[in-house]
């Protein structure tokens, strides 16, 4: 008896000849998104996959926003910042972040950090850390993780909801995960050190952040950022004030300068990753705020608003920076003076302000 072979039910491939160029007809060669003008001759992948995904009534959205908050405001209102632009859509993130770049970049960073920590373990480096430096690590270096986490979760994350274009919001969404990743990188490094260094106090960082007087003005700065409604003010105060005046001051002006001299060649590589992220966000901020100060119609008013923010936030930052000074004295090898670190930060901020067209007002 022959065995009955039952044919499996599967869709049959069909030759359809539906490939590009198989026929010529109107628009058969229209192979680029035609609803925006690319910055250069051809659109980048970043432009293609980011621009106009979030339309607005000024661009293509003919029926307006169809849901609103209780006060009647819908979508991404331009009024959510005091700054004004003739064309918010002009901003493109110079970092050109989209799916592949976000994951490649961050995956490389976490792999590199993981390897560095592991190399330190294999080289028995942690036991050789200078004891005074270990105390600084426990308390101050890991207290820093809170600042990064607070900004990532409660400053950049809500700001990425608020800005009026997809390109601005994307830049801040990426900034948010950079900060969150860096905060986690630090705190998980803390976990590793807790397992590697006898007597290492892996939890004192939180009390330091909450209670140590040297950190309170910095914590106040971060909390003030989370209490700010204006998304552009949040980005400005973070990237143009906090990062150079407090972030760089501590990360680069202190930790990265002194760690190696205390036998620690691992911590600077982790701090460096955070520093690099902050520089990326600063590149975006420079382009955005320059666009706003250059705005033919609103430039002058924007400069006035920005200068107001600068004066207000710089005062808070200077107090926070100076209050951190005692940390510079807690190490054995005093290779860098606080005043030199602060001077470097101030110089960096002046360069930033010059880039965004605010230099004159500052020196005036």
């Amino acid at each position: 008896m022959a065995t009955e072979v039952k044919e499996r039910s599967v869709p049959k491939p069909t030759f359809t000849d539906a490939e590009a160029g198989a026929k010529e007809f109107p628009s058969w060669q229209s192979r680029s998104y035609n609803y925006f003008t690319p910055r250069k001759r051809r659109a980048t992948v970043y432009e293609d996959v980011t621009i106009d995904v979030q339309p607005d009534p000024a661009r293509h959205l003919s029926q307006g926003w169809v849901y609103a908050f209780a006060d009647g405001v819908g979508g991404y209102p331009q009024e959510w910042t005091a700054l004004k632009s003739s064309n918010w859509h002009e901003f493109l993130d110079p970092n050109e972040e989209w799916e592949q770049t976000i994951y490649r970049n961050n995956a490389n960073v976490v792999r590199q950090i993981g390897q560095n920590i592991e190399h330190g373990r294999l080289a028995h480096a942690y036991a050789a850390f200078d004891p005074a430096w270990v105390k600084v690590l426990e308390r101050h270096v890991f207290a820093w993780a809170h600042a990064e986490h607070g900004i990532g979760m409660h400053v950049y994350t809500p700001a990425q909801r608020d800005a009026p274009t997809n390109m601005i919001n994307n830049a801040m969404a990426v900034g948010a995960v950079h900060k969150l990743r860096f905060a986690q990188d630090l705190i998980l490094y803390n976990l590793a050190l807790s397992e590697e260094i006898d007597g290492f106090d892996g939890s004192v960082h939180k009390a330091t952040w909450q209670e140590d007087p040297v950190w309170q003005p910095t914590r106040e700065f971060v909390e003030k950022l989370t209490g700010t409604r204006d998304w552009a003010e949040q980005w400005f105060a973070t990237s143009i004030v906090f990062e150079p005046m407090i972030g760089e001051l501590f990360r680069s002006g202190f930790v990265m300068q002194v760690a190696a001299l205390h036998g620690d060649f691992v911590t600077p590589t982790i701090m460096g990753a955070g520093e690099s992220d902050a520089a990326r966000e600063q590149r975006g901020a420079r382009v955005l705020f320059r666009m706003l100060t250059d705005d033919a119609e609103h430039g002058a008013a924007n400069r006035e608003v920005l200068n107001g923010w600068l004066a207000e936030w710089n005062a808070v930052a200077e107090n926070a920076a100076r209050t951190l000074q005692p940390i510079w004295s807690q190490i054995s090898e005093k290779v860098v003076r606080f005043e030199d670190s602060l001077e470097r930060s101030q110089t960096r901020q002046r360069a930033l302000l010059e880039d965004i067209g605010l230099a004159q007002e500052v020196t005036a």
């Binding site: 979030q54 029926q63 908050f69």
Partner: protein, 548 residues
């Protein structure tokens, strides 16, 4: 990384948050929900150091498949009927995705639980990933598919089209109004947990059957992130249930969210799966069968019903009515026919159904031919460019252009269920009692006698037809940009024939005036309105006017 070390790492990162004492964080996005009594747990532990390499690996697989598709010339075997609908689908879907990213701070702001914040922040960047990976897929289609027109104007078309607007309201529902209503119940509890099953699992299966294996590659990569998002939603709903005061709001929001998701997602995905396919094997799952499996069994019976044990009233009636609309009231067939009738106002090509399609529909949905078959025969007849108007304006087609539903923005296609009411000083139409309730009762600053000051409202120019009322069809098409690069031939076509001589041009749509049924309705006297609506509700299937 081992599970044990992930758990340890996840526990460690909880040290990062702190209680502010200097400044209270700004309450950007209000909610009427309360969470004082909420338990604080994150059911899905994830840390970024394992998350980023995991996603990078997923990306590498997707991009490897893209390379393979190009090298293997996948487009020699894709069905045009299917790819044309992707011009609509891939226009819409990146917006709900990016809106979901934008929605995350609403939930973070509303829920005082640092453990869940971590999951929500990871979801935020997942959604950025989804939006850009989908835009990139569409870019690849634009570069390699025979007809790039429509893909090339994609995001503009989506923002101004008679159909795209339905999908847009879906995404906007995530980002405005009460933070928990929008970002948790509507987005996560219903859209992601229920309807991504048909969006990202059933639909990719259909794509593969139509020769497109890239859409499944991309969308399964997207879907693999959804389990984390579902966990975020579940943990928040459990937190909300801990406080009795939230119950009425949860029940309100589940009704709104379920019904709106059903109305919009079933309309779109149902049409793509049933009418966009060339795969007519009898044992292939119909949309109704897929819905029964993925939405009814997988979501409703195994996710939603168990919430009853917490004392939550589940909208059983709406779930059953959704099924009733799909199975007995022909919801998807009516929507597909509406899309096809409106072919002139979109940016993709819709071909008619043939005998093979008819046979399949009759097999899957007994009685289908009597209701819809003749109309599709007429569609094919009127798809030829030989002097008549588009089917929507051709008297012999015996078609009555439908009223729009004010709430879900899908037209009122199940005629007998249409509701007319004067709301906010305007006579509006709704596809159903529930959509009427959503506008008139749910989205209001008071609900069942309690103040709900955070609840959002429906806004905007909700009716596409009203926006273009009284304009010449040729002008509308030009204004919207649905013209090919010869400045004359339309992007949309009622057939798949790419012979320039057979393609419809501006000449065939000039001289036709588009009227808004809602404007005309508001111009009627109350008596005329009642009579008109009674007739409309008596109308037959497939847009047939009521018998005299």
């Amino acid at each position: 990384m081992s599970r044990a070390s992930i758990t340890k790492a996840h526990q460690k990162i909880q040290e990062l948050s702190w209680e502010p004492t200097f400044v209270e964080p700004v309450d950007k996005y209000p909610t009427d929900y309360t969470f004082e009594k909420a338990p604080k747990k994150d059911p899905l532990k994830q840390v970024l150091r394992s998350y980023f390499p995991m996603e990078e690996e997923k990306d590498n697989r997707v991009f490897g498949a893209m390379d393979g598709a190009i090298r293997g010339n996948m487009f020699r075997q894709v069905q045009e009927r299917w790819m044309e609908w992707q011009k609509l689908f891939l226009s819409i879907i990146p917006f709900p995705e990016i809106s979901a990213a934008r929605a995350m701070p609403l939930a973070i702001n509303a829920v005082p639980n640092p453990e869940v914040h971590n999951g929500l922040a990871i979801q935020m960047i997942d959604e950025v990933r989804h939006s850009t990976i989908q835009m990139n897929l569409k870019r690849l289609y634009m570069n390699h598919y025979i007809d790039p027109a429509g893909f090339d104007l994609t995001e503009k078309g989506f923002a101004n089209c008679y159909a795209g607007t339905i999908g847009r309201q879906f995404g906007e529902g995530f980002i405005t109004g009460d933070a928990i209503t929008a970002a948790n119940v509507y987005l996560t509890i219903v859209a992601e947990t229920a309807f991504t099953n048909v969006l990202f699992v059933a639909m990719p299966g259909e794509a593969a059957a139509n020769g497109d294996y890239l859409l499944p590659t991309v969308f399964h990569s997207v879907q693999s992130d959804e389990s984390r998002h579902i966990s975020n939603g579940y943990s928040i709903i459990l937190m909300a249930l801990a406080d009795e005061r939230n119950r009425a709001l949860l029940e309100r929001d589940l009704r709104y969210a379920w019904w709106n998701n059903h109305a919009v997602v079933d309309a779109a995905i149902g049409t793509f799966i049933e009418y966009g396919t060339k795969d007519r094997r009898k044992d292939r799952e119909s949309y109704a069968e897929a819905w029964r499996r993925w939405i009814y069994d997988d979501y409703y019976r195994s996710y939603l019903v168990p919430l009853e044990k917490y004392g939550l009233t589940i909208p059983h009636d709406l779930v059953e009515e959704s099924w009733n609309r799909i199975w007995n009231k022909g919801y998807i067939h009516e929507v597909a026919q509406f899309f096809a009738t409106g072919w002139f106002a979109n940016y993709w090509r819709i071909d008619g159904m043939d005998d093979k399609d008819f046979e399949w529909f009759e097999f899957k949905y007994p009685g289908w031919y009597d209701k819809y078959g003749r109309w599709w025969e007429k569609y094919t007849e009127l798809s030829k460019k030989n002097g008549h108007k588009p089917i929507a304006f051709e008297a012999e087609a015996n078609y009555q252009y439908p009223h729009r539903c004010w709430t879900c923005m899908v037209p009122c296609l199940i005629r007998e269920d249409t509701v007319m009411d004067e709301v906010d000083g305007q006579v509006r139409t709704y596809c159903s009692e529930t959509c009427h309730w959503t506008d008139k009762v749910a989205f209001r600053p008071e609900y069942e006698g309690r103040p709900t000051p955070s609840m959002g409202k429906l806004s905007g120019q909700r009716e596409w037809e009203t926006l273009h009322h009284g304009k010449d069809l040729g002008d509308i098409m030009q204004d919207l940009g649905y013209i090919r690069d010869d400045g004359h031939t339309l992007v949309p076509q009622p057939h798949l024939n790419l012979d320039p001589k057979e393609m419809w041009t501006l000449d065939e749509v000039r001289g036709i005036t588009l009227n808004s049924p809602n404007v005309l309705l508001n111009e009627m006297s109350p008596e005329e309105r009642e009579q008109h609506m009674a007739e409309y509700k008596r109308g037959g299937p497939a847009g047939r006017p009521a018998a005299a």
